[in-house]
């Protein structure tokens, strides 16, 4: 989630640092306005006299005079010092709205003080009026370059003092208003961005929950169908195993044993006499068995068709659900690494992510994550399968390839790919893992194709490591994409 940072300078009572960066959280909580001015700063003229004025002059008499003048004009808040070395501390502590600064003070260069003031982020906009007995143009020029707001000549003419101060304070009030407005705007933007992000995440969560719900239903459906398949197969098996067919052989043996006197056997022997009706009943039973088995095979077919249909629907649905959203590749890679944390820890493999300006593209984030995790996992696992003595190392690089395309390259120094396997690598069901089901790379290739991208692999052979490169467009228009 990106946040905008605006550098704001203000004399308001807010926690901010010497660079003048505003703590946004505190900014939001702050309701106070410039101390010393009124709470509704739009009323500039009326309340300007509540401004706090600071005076720095080595002559106490001068200070008294100025204060007397200013009091007569309605100002009442004053801060003063005759010690210029204390000026900076006093400034920071009392946060005046205006500073009257004597430029000619022994042991202190007033201009130097001005420079210090202007280099402090918190004071850079403080109106400073320099009191000077000299009209030296070079002095004035230097002062102006150092950022002085205005001049007042000594001896101070009270009729000039009041309007200048009023003007300066008015300008400052406008300035403060603007800053406050800008700050409020920035807070609002920040809030909105956060809310938007929250909404997006919650929408994503609901979408996934919805998908999970559907998946559970599908599983239940397929589970039931499999149940029936099981039972049908069991019954066919049982019927065949318990079949009375073997007794036909026994009947034949009985007849053969009595072949010599078959007529007498059939008419006189107890067994011979029951044989014809037995054969008839046996035939019915055997035909019944066959009927049962045929019926169960029909049931089997029915349920297997059902399972096929459910799976096909899911595949179609999955295809339609490409949720295209801005995807930060840097975040994606970090997410993939996190997901594979335990795999990494177990295998003592080092992942080096060459962080550059990883672009943001429009793609299906979830599916891309799957692909990335798959390929990365392969890389990590192949590192621990290699015979080489060097430590397992996986390098990830991101960058721009052709215009409008980006690539993610995952290079490992592991077991490598045998030459004869290269062609089959992305084929269905191909795996070199003992417990692999061949699902991974094939489905990765399919997913990437759906997203308008490609994946390819390079390897110098066994134990020579491998490099997988995923190419993706900045934006891919596919059918059935949901944005």
């Amino acid at each position: 989630m990106s946040t905008t940072q605006v550098v704001v300078h203000s004399l308001e009572e807010l926690p901010w640092d010497t660079d003048g960066n505003l703590d946004l959280n505190a900014a939001r909580e702050s309701t106070r306005v410039t101390p010393g001015t009124s709470k509704s700063p739009s009323a500039v003229d009326d309340d300007a006299t509540s401004a706090r004025i600071m005076i720095v002059d080595d002559e106490p008499v001068n200070i008294d005079v100025v204060i007397k003048y200013l009091r007569s004009f309605g100002y009442s808040e004053f801060v003063a010092t005759t010690k210029p070395e204390e000026a900076m501390a006093l400034l920071r502590e009392s946060k005046p709205d205006l500073l009257l600064l004597d430029i000619m003070m022994p042991h202190t260069n007033g201009l130097e003080l001005l420079r210090q003031i202007r280099s402090d982020g918190r004071l850079i906009h403080l109106p400073v009026i320099i009191l000077t007995a000299y009209c030296d143009p070079s002095n004035r020029k230097q002062a102006l370059e150092r950022g002085v707001t205005d001049f007042l000549s000594k001896p101070i003419d009270p009729h000039e003092l009041a309007p200048r101060i009023r003007n300066v304070l008015a300008a400052k009030a406008h300035h403060d208003n603007l800053l406050r407005y800008a700050k409020q705007l920035e807070c609002d933007v920040h809030e909105k961005a956060k809310a938007l992000d929250e909404a997006r995440h919650s929408a994503e969560r609901r979408y996934l929950a919805g998908r999970a719900e559907i998946a559970t239903d599908v599983l239940h459906n397929v589970g039931n169908a499999l149940n029936s398949v099981n039972v049908a197969v069991d019954l066919i098996g049982y019927t065949l195993k318990e079949s009375r067919l073997p007794t036909v052989k026994q009947v034949a043996e009985l007849l053969l044993a009595n072949k010599a006197k078959i007529g007498k056997f059939m008419q006189k022997d107890k067994r011979g006499r029951v044989l014809p009706s037995y054969l008839d009943e046996l035939a019915d039973v055997l035909l019944g068995e066959r009927e049962t088995s045929l019926q169960e095979i029909d049931v089997l077919k029915r349920h297997l068709e059902h399972i096929k249909a459910v799976v096909a629907t899911q595949q179609k649905y999955a295809k339609l659900c490409n949720v295209m959203e801005p995807t930060s590749l840097a975040e994606l890679i970090n997410d993939a690494k996190e997901l594979l944390n335990s795999t990494l820890a177990r295998r003592d493999v080092e992942i080096v992510h060459h962080e550059t300006d990883a672009p943001t593209i429009m793609s299906d984030r979830q599916k891309l994550l799957q692909v990335l995790v798959n390929v990365l996992k392969n890389a990590i696992e192949s590192c621990s399968e290699t015979d080489s003595a060097s430590n397992g190392r996986v390098e990830i690089r991101v960058g721009a390839s052709q215009p409008n395309y980006v690539f993610i390259e995952i290079r490992d120094n592991g077991a490598g790919i045998a030459k004869e396997n290269m062609a089959k690598l992305f084929g269905h069901g191909f795996t070199t893992k003992r417990s692999g089901n061949g699902f991974g790379l094939h489905s990765c290739a399919n997913i990437l194709k759906e997203l308008g991208g490609t994946i390819n692999a390079k390897s110098d052979g066994l134990n020579a490591g491998a490099t997988f490169t995923i190419n993706l467009p900045h934006e891919h228009k596919s059918e059935g994409a949901i944005t």
């Binding site: 029936s228 019954l235 009985l254 009706s277 037995y278 009943e281 019944g288 169960e296």
Partner: protein, 189 residues
């Protein structure tokens, strides 16, 4: 009172295929072959190998509430069910656990087998809601036919034994140690 010679089993599941499956497994489709067996004994002098099962009388309910009502009705008619197989997911009505929670107090002797798929309640959820007792078993779907057949046989035999040793079913105290249920169970004594 007389107890039935047939073993009454009730299947409670919303999926009709499951009912078909149970009927196949519990031998409803196996024709009686006693006549043939006698002739074979005469002809070949050996006993038949197929074990003869007494068979089950199988009934169906497609919703939890329907199953509960059938059980109550059977009890009231003096022909109680010995065993019931209950599915968990049966939308739109009660699920399996809710159904059994109502069945147990109403029918203190019936044996219950829950049929659950992995995606349903976890085993510990089920145990904590229904308690542990001598009349509750659980099977995971997809089910194994042989397991179902043996379980049904054993449970029905056990039910029969229970009837024999407790002449008045109204006075039998169910062995049911779920503390939430003790109040209800004792109300039947």
């Amino acid at each position: 009172m007389s107890w039935p010679t047939h073993r009454r089993v009730l299947i409670i599941d919303d999926n009709p295929s499951i009912h078909e499956d149970f009927r196949k497994i519990l031998g409803a489709y196996r024709p009686s072959q006693s006549a043939l067996n006698q002739k074979e004994a005469l002809l070949f002098g050996h006993k038949p190998q197929t074990p003869e099962s007494e068979g089950f009388q199988i009934d169906s309910a497609y919703q939890g509430e329907e199953g509960f009502e059938k059980i109550v009705q059977a009890r009231d008619e003096g022909q109680p069910y010995a065993l019931t197989f209950v599915d968990i997911r049966m939308p739109p009505g009660w699920d399996g656990v809710e159904t059994i929670e109502r069945i147990f107090p109403a029918e203190p002797h019936i044996h219950v087998v829950i049929c659950s798929a992995y995606s349903d309640y976890s085993a510990s959820d089920i145990m904590s809601r229904l308690g542990l007792c001598d009349r509750l078993l659980m099977l995971r779907k997809p089910c194994d036919s042989a397991e179902i057949f043996l379980i049904a046989t054993a449970m029905c035999e056990k039910w029969k034994l229970g009837q024999a040793t407790a002449p008045d079913p109204q006075r039998a105290i169910p062995l049911w140690n779920n503390p939430n249920r003790l109040a209800t169970a004792s109300s039947l004594t």
